[in-house]
């Protein structure tokens, strides 16, 4: 009878940020006090963040969820028989996999996230890990590249460029040395999918990068991780060490005669280093300033060698494609947006978290069916999609399908899949100002429209909000935005005007003197 019950308490950054460590400690202490044998596993998060800390108990092979759990709830959970999966507790949620938010998803890249102990290679293998790599070592580079091309996978880091085509260029470029670089700078507000992969299923990224190395003949890889993610850095370093010891990395990958080595490099807090050429400069130990293109990094990248630069999610999606085949993956999605999108519901949203779902669902479905509307219970006024360079989407566009081309049609972008929700108390004039301020802070300084334009943008918006020469300054703002869009070397200066223009076009009432409102609240006479 005294069998050991498995209890799962997430250890990802967000779960811990709302108290998961305290809950884990309380559960251990309470089990000890009661003489109950438990095995406490620190899994990654399922990404149902409004329910974190989400505790799971495995009963007869089925996981039952409880959440959100506070340390103070632990005693009553034991009283209510949660170790036996009983449901008489206010935090009981039933079978984890049946929670609609999770049940309705298409988890391919995130299949194991939240399920397994992140650093356990055994656990990873038991859940289908390394099958893609095992297939890949038996194939030629050309065959691997063809499968990835056939799958329709497009880069998930922002620009949605076909991954297979990029790999093909690296494959076809003759060189003694090639590199695979994983862009884990994840600088966009509202995105956390990369962090979740690295903290919750690090081997899937290692596997994807190794397959990329085999595909193009690269023997060295780097994961460039932002310093703001200390836990992801620790987990990736540890996972690389263990994978190397187990023979998945090193001079002979899976006993073959092909080598692949991997190393983590810590970034130093510059948004622009998420742009791939800046990232390469940074990896070379220089200031992260944009390089002119051509040559493309695929031809002349890190230390002048042909280099694959891909986002975390792009690379972490490769193993399932090599495991289940291009056709399986391609079957998900719509139009030219194949496979699944990792939507990140963030900001003022009731049920914030990660939703991996086939392309094609509407924005409305994500915001209301999954997200449940705002956290404050007020109406949604705007949603910023695709990070700080993305448009503020007006509710009249909420029926748009999540599809790269459909978004592009009205000047918005899906980018990295982040959706930041704002309720009707938002002052979009201030958000427009922030877009320019952010660009001014993060500009690499190489070109004038961005470096100077963003500073001027802040000033013009300030004048508009203060009611100075409104019409003239609004015209000036538009002109400035146009100049930045056409005259900037990269997308920081070239797209920072997008959120501003979306506000000018769809929420013009906020880019006006705020005098009336201030008068209403007695700030001005």
């Amino acid at each position: 009878m005294a069998s050991v019950t498995k209890v799962f308490v997430p250890s990802d950054t967000t779960a811990r940020s709302v108290g998961a460590d305290g809950v884990a400690a309380a559960i251990s202490a309470e089990a000890e006090r009661r003489g109950r044998q438990i095995e406490l596993i620190r899994n990654g998060s399922r990404g149902l963040y409004w329910l974190e800390p989400l505790v799971e108990v495995e009963v007869d092979g089925v996981r039952k969820a409880y959440g959100p759990v506070r340390p103070a709830d632990v005693e009553s959970l034991f009283e209510a028989g949660f170790l036996d999966g009983r449901r008489d507790h206010p935090s009981a949620l039933g079978d984890t996999e049946s929670i609609p938010y999770l049940a309705k998803q298409d988890r391919l890249t995130f299949a194991r996230v939240g399920l397994i102990d992140p650093l356990s290679i055994e656990d990873y293998r038991a859940h289908g890990g390394f099958r893609g790599l095992e297939n890949a070592v038996k194939l030629s580079g050309r065959e691997i590249v063809d499968i990835v091309t056939e799958s329709g996978l497009r880069g998930r880091g922002g620009a949605a460029f076909p991954t297979g085509i990029k790999w093909n260029t690296v494959l076809n470029t003759e060189a003694a040395r090639k590199y695979v670089v994983c862009n884990a700078d994840e600088g966009d507000s509202g995105t956390f999918a990369d962090r979740m992969i690295m903290e919750s299923d690090p081997y899937v990224l290692i596997e994807g990068m190794t397959i990329a190395g085999l595909a193009v003949g690269a023997t060295q890889g780097y994961v460039y991780i932002r310093f703001e993610y200390p836990q992801a850095i620790r987990t990736m370093r540890e996972a690389i060490e263990r994978a190397t010891a187990a023979g998945y990395l090193g001079d002979r990958v899976l006993g073959s005669d092909r080598a692949f080595h991997l190393e983590v490099r810590e970034a130093a807090g510059a948004y622009i280093c998420g742009e791939e050429t800046s990232l390469l400069e940074s990896l070379e130990g220089k200031r992260g300033i944009i390089r002119f293109r051509p040559p493309l990094p695929a031809v002349k990248g890190l230390f002048g060698a042909p280099t694959i630069v891909n986002n975390v999610i792009s690379l972490a999606t490769v193993p399932i494609i090599l495991d289940k085949g291009a056709a399986f993956y391609k079957d998900f999605g719509t139009g030219r947006s194949r496979g699944t999108l990792t939507v990140q519901l963030a900001g003022n949203v009731k049920q914030g978290g990660l939703v991996e779902i086939a392309f094609g669902h509407s924005l409305r479905e994500l915001l209301y069916d999954f997200g449940g509307g705002t956290a404050t219970g007020r109406p949604i006024r705007a949603v910023q999609a695709g990070g700080p360079l993305g448009a503020y989407v007006h509710p009249s566009k909420f029926d748009t399908a999540l599809d790269y081309e459909a978004f592009a049609q009205f000047g918005a972008m899906i980018g990295h899949g982040g959706l930041v929700v704002f309720d009707d108390t938002v002052d979009l004039g201030q958000q427009a100002r922030f877009a320019m301020e952010f660009c001014a802070i993060e500009s690499c300084g190489k070109c004038t429209p961005c470096r100077i334009g963003a500073v001027r943008g802040v000033e013009v918006i300030d004048r508009i909000l203060a009611g100075e020469n409104e019409a003239a300054n609004l015209a000036l703002l538009r002109e400035l935005c146009d100049t930045m869009v056409v005259g900037s070397l990269c997308a920081l200066g070239g797209m920072a005007p997008f959120p501003v223009m979306s506000i000018l076009d769809h929420f013009p009432e906020d880019l006006r003197a705020r005098k009336e409102e201030r008068r209403a609240v007695g700030e001005v006479a």
Binding site: T14, G190, Q430
Partner: protein
Amino acid sequence: MKGEFATTDEAAIRALAEARKQEPGALLPILHAIQDELGYVPEAAVPIVADVLNLSRAEVHGVVSFYHLFRTAPPGRHTLYLCRAEACQSMGARALEAYVRDKLNVDFHETTADGRFSLEPVYCLGNCACSPAVMIDETVHGRVTPERLDELLS
């Protein structure tokens, strides 16, 4: 006394740089190592690192000053990184920002008079589903209210 510290630091900096100079693109890892060890990258590190890597001082200085993470003055005992990005703004980060500045009586990039906290802005901690967020040293805290912040700072 001061001179003594300076020599130890210089020796330490040289050792940290020497240990990593063979790595490709060694400058960033070296600067990280120095800041991890000393809490900042002192002016005196620039010529030493330049010497070890065979770079000009201007090149090293240019890199130190380009990145937001590196600082050239000693920080407080703890660093409070406050997220200023959009998802946190949507949940009250602007008010939190005003509250912290007032409470600690410092602006961003400054250290409190008692030397306990340095206040730094960050633009997203990847905690956007439980915003607003702050990070104290290496620990992230979510759903931060002014009351919660008071507890964290005490």
